[in-house]
């Protein structure tokens, strides 16, 4: 079963071909890593999947049926596409626990304006569920002790974790993680792998992850897609990709 099919996605910024025919499949339930040098088009691809950019041509198919490229970003989130940002972003002035409730907005099916304001049964249950889940994911990333701090007061590493908790609380079926290790210390990066695994297991979601930290991404991914100049160079198991001559030359450089 294929969770996401990316077919010949192209996007130009003026004269630059940011995406130049990127094509690959993401199998359901897998953790797929995307590697590639700066400017390979990895984040642009994420933007195209989550809807913040629109590709010039090409198709992105969710669950083999839903064409994503024509939908606004919020609708893609409702369909189960969750993403984190390269620079870890949350609602800055809200406490973490409030953040984790706010991101579940779309999952509260019984909480229209009137029902919320009147505190009717369904809405009240929704609120209780949301609060419970917020505490749960907070526990999962180990931030329970920091739950009442506003996001703006967290260190980069903790903000990164809080963002992971938020995207998990939103319960996506496809999780896009954009460089979860960027901006945090090497020692902390080592702890990230197990946390990411735990979160993926908790969600049972398919995960697409962009990462520059080789040990981390090679360690957690079921398969790897190597990109360069807006297209896929090679794809396969971590071992295969690591051994691919093109990858060695263009990405790992001197190591070859």
């Amino acid at each position: 079963m294929t969770k996401l099919e990316i077919r010949d996605v192209r996007l130009r910024f003026g004269g630059v071909r940011a995406l130049d025919g990127a094509t690959f499949d993401v199998p359901e339930g897998q953790i797929v890593g995307i590697i590639g040098p700066n400017g390979a088009g990895k984040t642009t691809l994420f933007d195209c999947i989550s809807g913040f950019r629109r590709p010039d041509t090409g198709s992105i198919l969710l669950d083999g049926a839903v064409e994503l490229t024509t939908k606004p970003p919020w609708a893609r989130a409702s369909l189960g596409v969750g993403r984190t940002f390269q620079n870890a972003r949350l609602f800055r002035s809200l406490p973490i626990r409030e953040n984790l409730r706010a991101v579940q907005h779309d999952r509260m099916r019984h909480s229209g304006f009137v029902r919320s304001v009147m505190g009717l049964g369904g809405a009240r249950r929704d609120e209780a569920d949301v609060a419970a889940r917020a505490d749960e994911v907070l526990e999962l990333v180990g931030l329970t002790a920091h739950g009442d701090k506003p996001a703006s007061e967290l260190s980069t590493g903790m903000l990164r974790l809080a963002e992971l908790a938020a995207v998990v609380a939103n319960r996506p079926s496809l999780l896009l993680l954009d460089e979860p290790s960027s901006g945090i210390a090497q020692r902390e990066t080592e702890a990230l792998g197990p946390i990411l695994r735990r979160l993926a297991g908790y969600l049972g979601a398919t995960v697409l992850i962009i990462e520059h930290d080789m040990p981390l991404i090679m360690g957690i991914s079921d398969s790897i897609v190597a990109m360069a100049a807006g297209a896929v160079v090679t794809a396969g198991t971590p071992e295969d990709v690591r051994a691919h001559p093109e990858v060695l030359r263009s990405y790992l450089g001197a190591a070859g």
Partner: protein
């Protein structure tokens, strides 16, 4: 045909003044990124001063010092051209003072912070002008005009006066001078560099604070000159004109993306000319030219042509809570609640008892207030109590509508006062045209506000920050010019028997206020309120989690519009009709915005505090003061406090308790779960990569 060309001289002349205003706005914005909404107020203040000097106004101060009574009075009078240097010197001092005291502390603040601060400054300057020069219109007689109003020459039967010719030439000369300043001086070059990239410029050694001084000095003097010329050209002007002026100047400046001087000047002339032409073809519609400009502004902004974004700093979030305040100015530190709390803590030995007191007070104070509010008419009150008390409740509702829109949703609008007029209109229409009995007119007022809110909300879907404020300002002015004058003595409503007494009217208003507060309290605590705040904090992040910006923003606009409209309906019943026009004006809206900021723009408690602070107290004290003597002290206080509060804590007074709590509970620094990384999975090191 000559009638058509006859619109050219007056059109070009008012256009010249708009161009001058736009020039000053561009000058200041380029160098400091401050959209100066106090610009029209500065122009008006200098103009009033100048013509007082020309006419010889008597100034007097009496000082009582123990048994010493000093009475100083002076009646300075100078001819027009002798007074001009004095007026411009005052403009220079005003500009320097504002730069140093108000602008400098906000050097790095967000656009929205600067908008609120300069709007507050506008109310202060406006109130100061009215306090000193009285609320009367300024009429510039032929004798005092800047140039003689006699014809200079005539082309094809169209007369051009010396005044018109002179003002246009002055503006063109000034534009050329400012243009040359940007092009050929090193300071001008530095300003252009800063306008392009502030950080890089400062790394290269450009002193942005020095440029700030230069631009405010220059901008203020241009404002002064523009005010003096405009007052002469349009003969009769009043302080309310300043908001109209500001919007015209901004309309022209925005066309050039706030940075292009030639485009701004050209647009200024264009707007002036088009207004005259439109007025020529619709002679019987009052303010047709103005309405046309305001509509054009809204349409152009909503279409978002790329050139209006050239110099605009488009903050990603609303900038209301995350923008840095000042923190570094001495004035700000004096009222910094954290600083004050540290002093208190040092003085009183606390072992969590203070925190417990806070928790108890959080419940006791609101309950006590509620009981007091309900039982208020039973107190021994002076005979005039009903009007102030009801106005206080109306004040509360309007501030609450600002809390929803600005504080929660982060959409800064200055059109909320217009909903007072919408509420009045809805009440009268339901009562008269539909002929429905008592409770329905109030519901009708709320119902009418829904489509109007959506109409205002639509531009907001595509605009933010500066552009949004300009659009709502244009909308507010359109209501002020087109709707308010239609309220006449015939706009009365029949008040039912039940509500004839003051006490009954008060209790009815109180009931609606309680409902509004309860609804907002529930909204804040549940899903809808969280989505508002999410949109305020970051539209991008909110969208990534499936929050729909369009629906959320429109919900907020409708909710806040309904609350303000309810206030309009209650006011209509209080007065027995939709007579009162002052509450619907943009000037009043801006004062209300200032009050909301001071009282706490993000909390339900804010409107209550605001009403007690700015509604009840001044109303009671004014009632006591002899009639006829109006003091502008409340406006001045609100404006000054707004600026101070934005400097230390952009969330306002109502967040103080939360602020204090967060400081005192002193999070024990729990370690980051990332730091204790002992259960690391076995990860293949990269050195094992086969060659």
């Amino acid at each position: 045909m000559s009638a058509f060309f006859g619109t050219f001289p007056p059109g070009l002349v008012t256009g010249a003044v708009y161009a001058m205003l736009a020039m000053g706005l561009v000058l200041t914005y380029k160098a400091t990124r401050v959209p100066n909404f106090a610009y029209g107020a500065m122009a008006t203040l200098i103009a009033f001063f100048h013509y007082s000097l020309v006419r010889g106004k008597r100034y007097s101060i009496t000082i009582h010092l123990l048994f010493l009574h000093v009475h100083i009075h002076a009646r300075p009078q100078l001819p027009f051209w002798g007074a001009l240097p004095v007026s411009l010197a005052l403009a220079a001092v005003l500009g320097l003072g504002i730069e140093r005291i108000v602008i400098r502390p906000f050097a790095r603040a967000s656009t929205v912070t600067m908008i609120i601060v300069t709007l507050a400054l506008a109310t202060v300057l406006d109130a100061v002008a009215q306090q000193i020069f009285g609320g009367q219109d300024l009429i510039v007689s032929n004798h005092d005009a800047i140039f003689p109003r006699t014809p200079a020459f005539s082309v094809g039967g169209v007369n051009v006066s010396w005044e018109q010719l002179g003002v246009v030439l002055i503006v063109l000369g000034l534009a050329a001078a400012v243009f040359a300043f940007f092009r050929f001086t090193s300071t001008g070059l530095a300003i252009r560099a800063v306008a392009t990239d502030r950080d890089v410029s400062s790394l290269l050694g450009v002193s942005s604070s020095q440029l700030s001084v230069v631009s405010w000095l220059g901008g203020s003097m241009v404002a002064g000159l523009a005010g003096i010329a405009l007052a002469s050209v349009i003969v009769t002007s009043n302080p309310d004109l300043l908001f109209t002026l500001t919007i015209k100047g901004f309309a022209a400046a925005v066309v050039g993306g706030m940075v292009s001087l030639p485009i701004a000047v050209g647009a200024g002339f264009g707007i002036g000319l088009v207004e005259q032409i439109v007025q020529h073809y619709f002679p019987r519609t009052v303010g047709a030219g103005e309405l046309f400009t305001l509509a054009a502004v809204i349409v152009v902004l909503a279409l978002r042509p790329p050139w209006i974004f050239r110099g605009i700093r488009d903050d990603e979030d609303s900038g209301l809570t995350s923008g840095p305040g000042a923190g570094n100015s001495v004035l700000a530190r004096l009222i910094d609640p954290a600083e004050a709390w540290r002093l208190v803590k040092a003085a009183v030995p606390t072992d969590g008892r203070v925190g417990r007191w806070f928790r108890v007070l959080r419940w006791v104070v609101p309950i006590a207030l509620a009981v007091l509010a309900v039982a208020f008419p039973l107190l021994p009150l002076p005979g005039f109590w009903a009007l102030p008390a009801n106005l206080t409740l109306i004040d509360l509702l309007v501030v609450l509508s600002f809390v929803v829109l600005v504080g929660w949703l982060g959409q800064i609008s200055v059109a909320q006062g217009a909903f007072i007029a919408v509420g009045g209109a809805g009440t009268v229409i339901t009562a008269h045209t539909l002929g429905l009995p008592f409770p329905f007119p109030i519901l009708g007022a709320v119902a009418l506000s829904v489509p109007v809110s959506i109409l205002i909300g639509l531009p907001a879907l595509r605009l933010r920050g500066l552009h949004l404020v300009i659009a709502t300002l244009a909308f507010g002015l359109a209501v002020q010019e087109a709707v308010l004058p239609r309220f006449t003595a015939a706009s009365f409503v029949r008040v039912p028997h039940l509500l004839r007494s003051d006490g009954a009217k008060y209790e009815m208003s109180l009931l609606f206020v309680a409902i509004a507060l309860l609804v907002c309290w529930r909204v804040q605590r549940t899903r809808v309120g969280r989505s508002f705040v999410a949109i305020r904090e970051s539209e991008t992040v909110a969208t990534a989690y499936g929050i729909r910006p369009v629906r959320t923003k429109l919900t907020g606009f409708v909710l806040s519009g309904a609350i303000a409209s309810l206030a309009g309906a209650l006011l209509t019943y209080q007065l027995g009709g939709a007579f009162n026009q002052t509450y619907g004006t943009v000037a009043f809206s801006i004062t209300w915005l200032s009050q909301s900021v001071v009282a706490g723009i993000t909390s339900i408690a804010g409107p209550v505090i605001g009403a007690l602070l700015f509604g009840l107290y001044p109303a009671l004290s004014q009632g006591a003061v002899s009639a006829g003597h109006v003091s502008y002290l409340p406006e001045i206080t609100a404006g000054v406090l707004t600026i101070l509060i934005m400097a230390v804590n952009p969330e306002g007074l109502a967040s103080m308790s939360r602020f204090v709590r967060s400081r005192t509970s002193a999070f024990e620094e729990a370690p980051s779960p990332l730091a204790e990384a002992d259960d690391v999975d076995e990860v293949p090191p990269m050195t094992e990569v086969p060659a």
